[in-house]
Symmetry: C2
Subunit: 126 residues, 2 copies
């Protein structure tokens, strides 16, 4: 598995890491069950903070691309190859587009939509 992190890139580091790992899974560079470097290991190798790697790992686990087994380390998920093609964000995007389109047809202003979105997010966080 070959990973290249470009600090100059505008793309966030954790996002780069996710992409690279998913690519490695799809390339076949890594197989289900393979062990991944630990969070701190990975952080040292690329000069990143361990929190940044942890963020990437937690997102990858949510998507069932990897599996964390606590102190035993992190491994490629059995169904990694399928799961890393599923794009949760694309689903979110589509759903939101439909809603926003409906709002606009009703005459709602962009500003009002944005304000409503902010309110909704705040309401669900407190």
């Amino acid at each position: 598995m070959e990973i290249i992190i470009d600090i100059e890139d505008t793309e966030p580091l954790f996002s780069q890491l996710i992409k690279q790992i998913k690519q490695a899974v799809q390339n076949g560079s890594v197989s289900p069950g393979d062990a991944l470097p630990s969070i701190r290991q990975m952080a040292n190798d690329f000069g990143m903070n361990s929190k940044t790697v942890a963020k990437a790992y937690s997102l990858l686990e949510r998507d069932s691309v990897i599996q964390t087994r606590g102190y035993r380390g992190t491994f490629i998920h059995p169904d990694a190859r399928n799961n890393c093609t599923v794009d949760l964000n694309a689903w979110v995007l589509q759903e939101l587009r439909n809603k926003i389109e409906a709002f606009k047809k009703a005459g709602v202003t962009d500003s009002e939509i944005r304000i409503g979105f902010s309110s909704a997010m705040n309401a669900l966080n407190s």
Copy 2:
């Protein structure tokens, strides 16, 4: 109809204007069919820019609280009393809350939701 605009208030001017007019309708200070001051008139009376008043008027017309008849001026909508209780923004808020709640249950991060929202808004504007 008595209108009071407070520049010191943090609430936007156009928003204050909308509220006051809706209140006047509900109070009965104005009745359906009554004429409203013209945009420029209203702007002069309160020392506001005419664009600010125009914004308030256009939103009120969208909500069918007032009716603009071009060069003939602006009047209170026949169904103003009912329509000014309908809150379009509340509807938007509720719809978005439902969607966001569904996203969160699926494990989508707040950040990802926000990014998806931005993307959707941009996509529908270009």
